[in-house]
Symmetry: C2
Subunit: 712 residues, 2 copies
């Protein structure tokens, strides 16, 4: 359990708290123009009820927007908790030095022109970070849009809020956002607002020279005024911290909804050039999100709608939904979406169906329920359908497709008469509507407790996401603990591996390999083959020749001693010609194996996520179908099982077309053990490949036939 | 070319024209209540400038909503072109008889309670259809919402239009809709309207007892006031007509955008119960849409947005886009979407990049272009970026992510100053914006000629779809002609097939099979094997035992005469025990083949699409990865090539991991020939399986090892 407590200690709440508990804010570079970046925090503070002090710092003005200005930070009488720095990049270092001298505890640097523009900017950024660390001051930014604590009216940001004339006062809510991109943060702010919801904390981290996304996620996971954590992510530094932050959010029952750019090559380039973050494998990041139950959204709309819906606090008790539609076609579409997204659409019990069919004999009362055009004359067919799903169908989630109900005045009135009262009668179920209406009307109905979306697809996407969050929020699911990584799995730093070494090291970690011998003479090779039993394979063993087959370093199907002898000489000869300077450790003789299902196990040390274990189906199809799953190391056996179930080829392992089921238990053990080994050696190993890893029939185990370890 | 002209003649324009050219409309069951279904068409006609005559038919009123009413259709003085029937189902038959007697040319039946409720309703529906056919009258419905010809103010529909007080007068446009679902049609109507666009024709077809979706698509393909055809589809009757309709739309340069429910089992059930249509394979329908360049949308929003965008009439000349984003993160996201949806994002030429980098030294001028937060002070960095993409990047499609620009008053003013004039300066390029703003503002900017979407994902989806439509609209792409189906491929109706027969019939059609002999004695089997060369396989031949391996009817790897003899006796013995009554035609002896890439060719006679050819990769993975492609028969070699390129396993055929490329030409020939054979025998054959079909190395051909034909 040592590691579990350690993972919590990774966060120093004291590094984040000053941003949200400051009682005074200095705006360095405060502008008299309330529209300028340096003018906005002053304007926002003056317009709101921030009950701390605001100090504009401007050597050329006595007064900024009506507030007394100071020529320098040193001139401010009394303590300054937080500083907002809106200066050109060259002036930032001096300002940070001033902050350090004044005892500022936290600074927000919005200035651009640091690590994102090249090596010189990076060095500048490192200097200011060093000054801040020395002084025990936390930094957000540079190259960000600042942050807000809306409940406290604390606005060290130049995001366009309050509206042009103060008409759009920020509305506090229970969502907190961490966005690496400032502009994206401002965009998300408006979208949440447009949906009638609000933020508690709102943070943009930019270049993350000091505190980073995971620090804020961990803080928000413990923050009483945050129920949902929304993340816009570009890249990461500390994998352990990120894992610990997501784990903490999950343990505290807080849904995390995340958007990350960089699925494509052009996208990655654009993201990297943006805040200078390192890009790892996007597929690995997908696996990482699944591992920690983070909902990774594909679009901005999905990010916002799911976050806002989760903030409303109603979750399906089971992944199933009752559907009612005024259009049979839309009902069928919603059923399709449910199927795709993992929501069951179980039919109503027969007696309940019969009752409804009396109301609409030409409709369908199965689920989806289609009461036909009758609803146009008599809206009670809709409310009766919904009520039947709730009372007799055992549903606590009902989705109604109501099309133009909110547009047509006649329908609107009937709707408010028949459907709205259902909400009051059944306060607990999740009620989702897909319909069109004027924004004010939609907001009014939202305020009654309905989730409302124009598009039926979004209605189902949101419902499915809420169903996945439900056990997290309820605290009803047991999460796999972070496994302990045994110290004795650590290999010596600087060690290199020929294939025999790699197999040996991994075998010690609990991963089985084919029977083999390392031979250093022709005779020894022949004797080894005879002891192992023919046929055998022979492979060159050298820590300096890792990709053996490229140089003809592998001989397969050796049936007798003569063949082994020839192979021995041939392999050494080819190796010497191909890599004259490589140290050759001999030839590895291994039993040739047939049967079983070929899989691939691998580890890649991702720049942002640390060692990530890959599992996939082997053979030529792995390249074609890219049927692989990823998990960050270390992980439990339960996680290994989830990982195997994630690949489509899982069906082959379970046995298709009359083939025997494979030894899944042995595969699970291997993946779990590989994850421990990878975690133990994250500082020294760059990658591991076990290809093929052959899974035999149930009870017969699973063994690697090839191993490769590349040191860092 | 006989068939091509035939496919055009499938449509009788005279069957559809009366709906859109009527000069008089009788509303049978006209209600004095303008809200009731029978009251609405009267109300709409009176509110609008329909320059024909409207006759309310109501035996209990002298006047309906101010218009003179008639007790019966016979009482109407003069001619009635079109009738709208809003009566309970039991009264419809008499009304249709009245229409026939009055010489009505087209009737719209909205009444429910016909084929969709069971056999009795179906018989009723068949009776009214027969009466109409006899009288040469076309029917739309029953169980539909009617239709509109908005340019002519012709409104035989009870869709909720005009608004409660006539404030929402239908606006004519150049999109025409055919929807099988009435409620869906009404929904689509409002969504198009909300986006500021309008319809030319709007039709809901319901149970389609007479004219169906394809008739209207074909009519709209020729209709001068229709530029885009929007379809909501549930099921189909006549495959040839549907193909011909889509082909006609494509040849006439009109984009077709389609939504179809029924991807999942529950969805299929719901769709079938809705209008009583037959459901075929959804994956086959996907292939069908690709074959005819129909854009199949996944969501209602996608259907609407792509249709409305296509109606605006600007298309990218090439599938590539220049991206500008005020958020680097959003720019990266858009690049990801482009990559996924087939749009290139080529970088700007270096000199153009250098010029832009002078404007925003901390940004990125590659593409996507990210001018950093500078745009907030100086919006000209955005217009300069867009203009550089147009002038120096060779782009004619620019997508700008503008986030909250339409919300913030300060930004809005600058935007109208800098960006809007670009539209006037460059009238031809496609300019797409993703930003937030008040609906009136968005509409104003749309009217200037920008496509505008809140979500960046939708902006890219629409752009990608327009790029795909571009060559169709421009008429610059040559479409494969419908191949002629040779008459001599037709097999005798009632014929059954043992495996040797199936191979023989398919071989005549140009599909090669393994060398084999049908043996009817032990001796003949042994001689055949010797002539073919060992090893051979032996399989039971019987038209009544189609699934041979299930009864042990296949023996593999027979190396000599003795083994063949034993196999012969064994196969016949097992066949007799398993199917004592089956006629056994002997044993098929075939050369055993090794090497090559295993694929599967198949045909399934789809209830809605006719014979659909399937191509997929073979082996156990086909079941796991479902890596298959479909095309409706017959199709050209070009289409066969497209079909092969559609499966991921295509890479294996092209040669991966140093394997030789396969004989794609031979595979193309086989698929094309199979499609001709399937089309020739669509009335007699239910399904064909050629599994495996082995594709050898380039130049070595491709042969089937197994064949199965199931008669209808």
């Amino acid at each position: 359990m040592a590691n579990q407590s350690k993972s919590v200690e990774l966060f120093d709440a004291k590094a984040i708290a000053p941003f949200f508990e400051s009682k005074s804010l200095a705006v360095i570079g405060a502008s008299t123009d309330p529209i300028k970046q340096g003018g906005r925090p002053v304007r926002y503070s003056l317009m709101s009820d921030y009950n701390g002090r605001v100090y504009p710092i401007n050597p050329r003005a006595d007064e900024v927007q009506g507030a007394k200005a100071y020529a320098s930070l040193a001139d401010v009488p009394g303590r300054v908790d937080c500083a907002f720095i809106a200066l050109p990049a060259p002036a930032v270092e001096a300002a940070i030095t001033d902050c350090a001298e004044k005892g500022v505890r936290a600074a927000v640097i919005i200035s651009a022109g640091f690590a994102e523009v090249g090596p010189e900017g990076r060095r500048h950024q490192e200097r200011i970070t060093a000054i801040a660390r020395e002084a025990g001051m936390s930094l957000v930014g540079p190259n960000c849009m600042g942050l807000m604590d809306i409940r406290r009216n604390f606005f060290p940001t130049f995001a366009p809020i309050f509206g042009f004339n103060g008409e759009a006062r920020p509305k506090p809510g229970n969502i907190s956002l961490v966005s690496q991109s400032g502009a994206f943060g401002a965009h998300a702010y408006e979208l949440v607002r447009a949906r009638g919801a609000g933020f508690s904390k709102w943070v943009t981290t930019g270049n993350q020279c000091d505190v980073e996304v995971s620090d804020f996620v961990a803080y928000m996971a413990d923050d009483k005024s945050t129920d949902v954590i929304m993340v816009y992510f570009e890249g990461n530094r500390d994998a352990d911290k990120l894992m610990a932050a997501f784990r903490k959010a999950r343990e505290n029952g807080k849904p995390v909804v995340l958007l990350k750019a960089g699925r494509s090559e052009t996208g990655v380039k654009a993201a990297v050039s943006h805040t200078g973050s390192m890009a790892g494998s996007d597929a690995a990041f997908d696996g990482f999100c699944r591992q920690f139950d983070v909902h990774r959204a594909d679009t901005v709309g999905e990010l916002i709608d799911i976050s806002v819906a989760a903030a409303a606090g109603k979750f399906p008790s089971r992944p199933r939904a009752g559907l009612v539609s005024i259009s049979g076609g839309a009902g069928a579409l919603m059923a399709d979406y449910c199927d795709e997204l993992g929501l069951a659409v179980p039919p109503l019990p027969k007696p309940a169906q019969a009752k409804l069919m009396k109301l609409f004999p030409f409709g369908s009362a199965l689920n989806p329920i289609d009461p036909t055009a009758l609803w146009g004359q008599d809206m009670s067919v809709l409310s009766a359908s919904m009520e039947t799903l709730l009372k007799e169908g055992g549903h606590d989630t009902v989705v109604l497709f109501g099309s133009t109900i909110g547009i047509n005045e006649f329908n609107r009135v009937r709707f408010e008469e028949h459907i709205i009262p259902l909400r009051e009668k059944y306060p607990n179920p999740l009620m989702v509507l897909s319909l069109l209406g004027a924004p004010e009307l939609i907001q009014k109905w939202r305020d009654k407790g309905f989730l409302i979306y124009e598009d039926a697809r979004r209605a189902i996407e949101v419902t499915a996401a809420l169903a996945k969050f439900a056990p997290i929020v309820a605290g009803s699911r047991k999460f796999p603990a972070r496994p302990r990584v045994p110290e004795n799995l650590k290999i010596k730093p600087g060690r290199t591996f020929n294939e025999a070494d790699a197999m040996g090291a991994l075998q010690k970690a609990g991963i089985k390999f084919v029977r083999r011998r390392l031979a250093t003479s022709r005779k020894a090779a022949q004797d080894a083959a005879a002891r192992l039993g023919f046929p055998v394979v022979a492979k060159i063993a050298s820590a300096e020749i890792l990709h053996k087959s490229e140089i003809g370093g592998v001989a397969l199907g050796l049936e007798n001693k003569r063949a082994v002898g020839e192979a021995y000489d041939g392999l050494l000869g080819r190796a010497k010609r191909a890599a004259p300077k490589a140290a050759l450790d001999g030839v590895l003789i291994a039993k040739q194996i047939s049967g079983g299902v070929e899989t691939i196990l691998g580890v890649n040390n991702d720049p942002g996520l640390g060692p990530v274990v890959m599992f996939g189906m082997g053979g030529i199809f792995v390249e074609v179908y890219k049927d692989v799953a990823f998990r960050a190391a270390p992980f439990s056996k339960a996680e290994a099982r989830a990982m195997i179930a994630e690949v489509a080829g899982h069906a082959v392992l379970k046995g298709v077309r009359g083939q025997a089921p494979s030894d899944l238990g042995a595969l699970v053990d291997a993946l779990h053990n590989l994850s421990l080994f990878a975690a133990a050696n994250k500082d020294t190993i760059a990658s591991i490949d076990i290809n093929p890893f052959v899974v035999m029939a149930k009870g017969k185990g699973a063994i690697g036939l090839d191993a490769l370890i590349e040191p860092k």
